[in-house]
Amino acid sequence: MRRIISVLMENEPGALSRVVGLFSQRGYNIESLTVAPTEDATLSRLTMVTIGDDHKIEQVTKNLNKLIDVVKLVDLTEGSHIERELLLVKVRASGAQRDEVKRSVDIFRGQIVDVTSNMYTVQVAGTGEKLDAFLQALGEHTIMEVVRSGVSGIARGEKVLSV
């Protein structure tokens, strides 16, 4: 099962390598990983997507919690949550294609953030599924380059992950 684990950890050098090292050391897989400092500069927030059965995920969270740098963590997929990923894509767009691409961007509520006479750079945010669907809608022949940020997530309602 796909899980989104959100980790609050000390913003210390070496902390990220301990998290990543744990995953390779214990044979867990990482689908995506994002990390950045929070409003409190001493803390980083890391969001990780992993796949595993309940037993494996329990081990993942227990071992993450064991890392001295990890302050707190939550498995967002256990409750109702919001997940977002950012996609930047360079799309070949000339002649009649330009309108067609623009229409797809509108349908997926994306924005064109850069433009030349032959291409658009498009930004789309949403769930991973939505981004997949957008790329599919564009059709492979028009895509020049794709960059995805990996998933960020937050719980719905008043539940927060904080110190």
């Binding site: 050098p13 390598s17 090292g21 071992n63 919690n65 110190v163």
Partner: protein
């Protein structure tokens, strides 16, 4: 406030932490620190002959005392040589602080002379690590390192210090922190009372209970409480390799060790148990054999300070996260105030069954090795040493057949007396560990049980024993081959002895010992075994290397059947199977 250089600060911080002993080896990046050590009196430094020896010696010191072992090495090869010893300590949850010199900050990443990324190299085998960026951090880093190493599930912590940080020319105000607050680290304390109550109810309902106690009981100072609990309930106890001594080995409720080379009665009792109380044990693969065949009828109560150990390989029915001490004392209180009693008639039947198993194949009810041959049997050497030392020696061991014979035949009545590399299985551990033990217990018999293979992996420490006058006994069960490897090759590879024999290349250990200034004794004939052992053990002021030629064809039994065996599937001899 007092102004100190980084090097002096480090040494002062260690003193303020109560450290009085360091095992180490100097080198370029650590020289400022070594100079600071030279200029002080509170800390004794033991110069080993190889950094691996320093880590094992600190480890032996820690295991025999409960204190944190401290190691100091230089950068590069000094640091990487320490890796095996750090991994050994990590696998067995031994508190250790390893301080490594590092190349100067401005050289880091430039492939400088003797540079290695110690924090990176050691990352998978430490509980935590620090790279010190400036001297002012040193007191707090030291404080944190000792706190992390010694609390919760203990383990090694590395402090990597670039040379410029210890520069004697730069001085900073020194103050050792009295208290620590770490928001990201809160080791487990008391167990959940509701869970403990449930555990008591299950324990009292048991008809075929077994208490399975591991190294956590030794490390967590829970041996006294565990013994009280088992005696109160009159339940059988088995110890893991790491847990030997957590329950008195000579008590009648002790079934012996369990697992791959566990006793017939311990493994069979586990297999048939209806309730297992696991305390400070981690259901290691050398204990469980095939996990899905493990103890099919048992409900499992698992007490451990490390939540990640619980339900890792075997799912616990009642998990209890907490220190062994606090959980066991709460259990005892509940038992004392409880009106419920164990089912006496079921327990009597259970003991009758266990005694029958003991009678049939137990290694303590009759010798299960040849007693009428001309060759010395390794088991009888251990029994003889047990008798001579009255069961009260500190016994360190290396890894292999001799380790298993020692674990089976030397009955430990006290915790911290049996010192071996259980998790990592590090050959070369025994001798330096024995030196660490001897420093802590100068008036006690310290015996390193080893083999002619293992001893050669850290034999250079014979020189350390000379320098610091550490009179230990080295008991080499010499079977002229890598015995355990050979045993597997004979059992599973049709006797193809691939690289497990030395072809007449073994040194003369008696002469070797003498070359280092020690005594050497060679024992080859069965009839001289007892007299020569007595003579050797009567010598208290010299290190004695006792080279005993044992039957090279002997195997360690029982041995669980692998793969796909359950706890109770064992070879009992070369021809007998359960």
């Amino acid at each position: 406030m007092e102004l100190l250089s980084g090097g002096d600060m480090l040494v002062r911080a260690l003193q303020d932490e109560g450290v009085d002993l360091i095992f180490g080896y100097p080198g370029g990046s650590a020289l400022h620190i070594y100079d600071a050590i030279f200029r002080q009196k509170g800390i004794k430094h033991v110069l080993v002959r190889h950094e691996q020896g320093a880590t094992h010696a600190a480890d032996g010191y820690s295991r025999s005392t409960g204190k944190v072992g401290v190691v100091l090495v230089t950068s590069g090869p000094g640091a990487t040589n320490a890796i095996t010893g750090i991994a050994t300590a990590y696998m067995d949850s031994i508190p250790m602080v390893v301080i490594s010199g590092q190349v100067p900050s401005d050289k880091i990443g430039e492939d400088a002379f003797q540079e290695t990324d110690m924090v990176g190299c050691s990352r998978p085998i430490v509980k935590h690590s620090f790279l010190v960026k400036n001297a002012e951090e040193i007191p707090e880093v030291v404080k944190k390192a000792f706190y992390i190493a010694s609390t919760g599930r203990p383990g090694p912590v590395v402090i990597d210090i670039p040379k410029d940080v210890t520069n004697p020319a730069d001085r900073f105000p020194y103050r050792y922190p009295e208290k620590l607050r770490m928001r990201s680290y809160t080791p487990a304390g008391k167990g959940h009372s509701g869970q403990i109550r449930k555990a008591i109810a299950l324990l009292l309902s048991a008809k075929r209970p077994v208490i399975y106690a591991g190294g956590g009981v030794v490390q967590g100072e829970g041996a006294g409480l565990l013994t009280e609990l088992a005696k109160r309930l009159n339940y059988p106890v088995t110890n893991t390799l790491m847990g030997l001594g957590a329950y008195p080995g000579s008590d009648k409720r002790f079934l012996g060790m369990l697992g791959m080379h566990g006793t017939f009665e311990a493994n069979t009792a586990m297999h048939h148990a209806d309730v297992i109380l696991a305390v400070g044990a981690r259901f290691d693969d050398r204990v469980t054999n095939t996990p899905n065949k493990f103890c099919p009828g048992a409900k499992i109560i698992h007490i451990d300070v490390d939540p990640a150990s619980i339900s890792k390989t075997i799912v616990a029915d009642i998990p209890i996260v907490g220190t062994v001490q606090s959980v066991l004392s709460e259990m005892l209180e509940m038992l004392k105030s409880s009106e419920e009693q164990p089912d006496q008639s079921a327990i009597v039947d259970w003991w009758r069954q266990i005694d029958d198993w003991r009678e049939r194949h137990g290694i303590y009810t009759a010798p299960r090795y040849r007693t009428d041959g001309a060759m010395i049997m390794p088991q009888e050497v251990i029994r003889a040493v047990y008798d001579i030392t009255e069961g009260d020696a500190f016994v360190t061991s290396d890894v292999g057949q001799h380790q298993m014979f020692a674990a089976q035949y030397y009955l430990f009545d006290k915790p911290r007396r049996w010192i071996n590399s259980g998790g990592l299985g590090t050959m070369g551990f025994g001798l330096p560990a024995a030196l660490g033990v001897k420093i802590a217990h100068p008036d006690k018999d310290v015996v390193c049980v080893t083999g002619e293979g293992s001893i050669q992996m850290c034999i250079q420490e014979l020189s350390t024993a000379t320098q610091y006058h550490l009179p230990v006994k080295i008991l080499c069960l010499n079977n002229q081959a890598l015995g355990m490897v050979k045993q597997w090759q004979e059992m599973q590879y049709e006797g193809r002895l691939s690289n497990s024999v030395y072809e007449e290349s073994l040194p003369d250990f008696v002469k070797l010992a003498e070359a280092y200034g020690h005594l050497g004794v060679k024992i080859e004939r069965r009839e001289e075994l007892h007299d020569k052992l007595h003579e050797a053990f009567a010598i208290k002021d010299r290190t004695v290397f006792i080279d005993v030629y044992v039957d090279p064809s002997e195997h360690v039994y029982p041995m669980q059947v692998m793969p796909n065996g359950s706890m109770r599937d064992m070879w009992l001899s070369k021809t007998e199977r359960t």
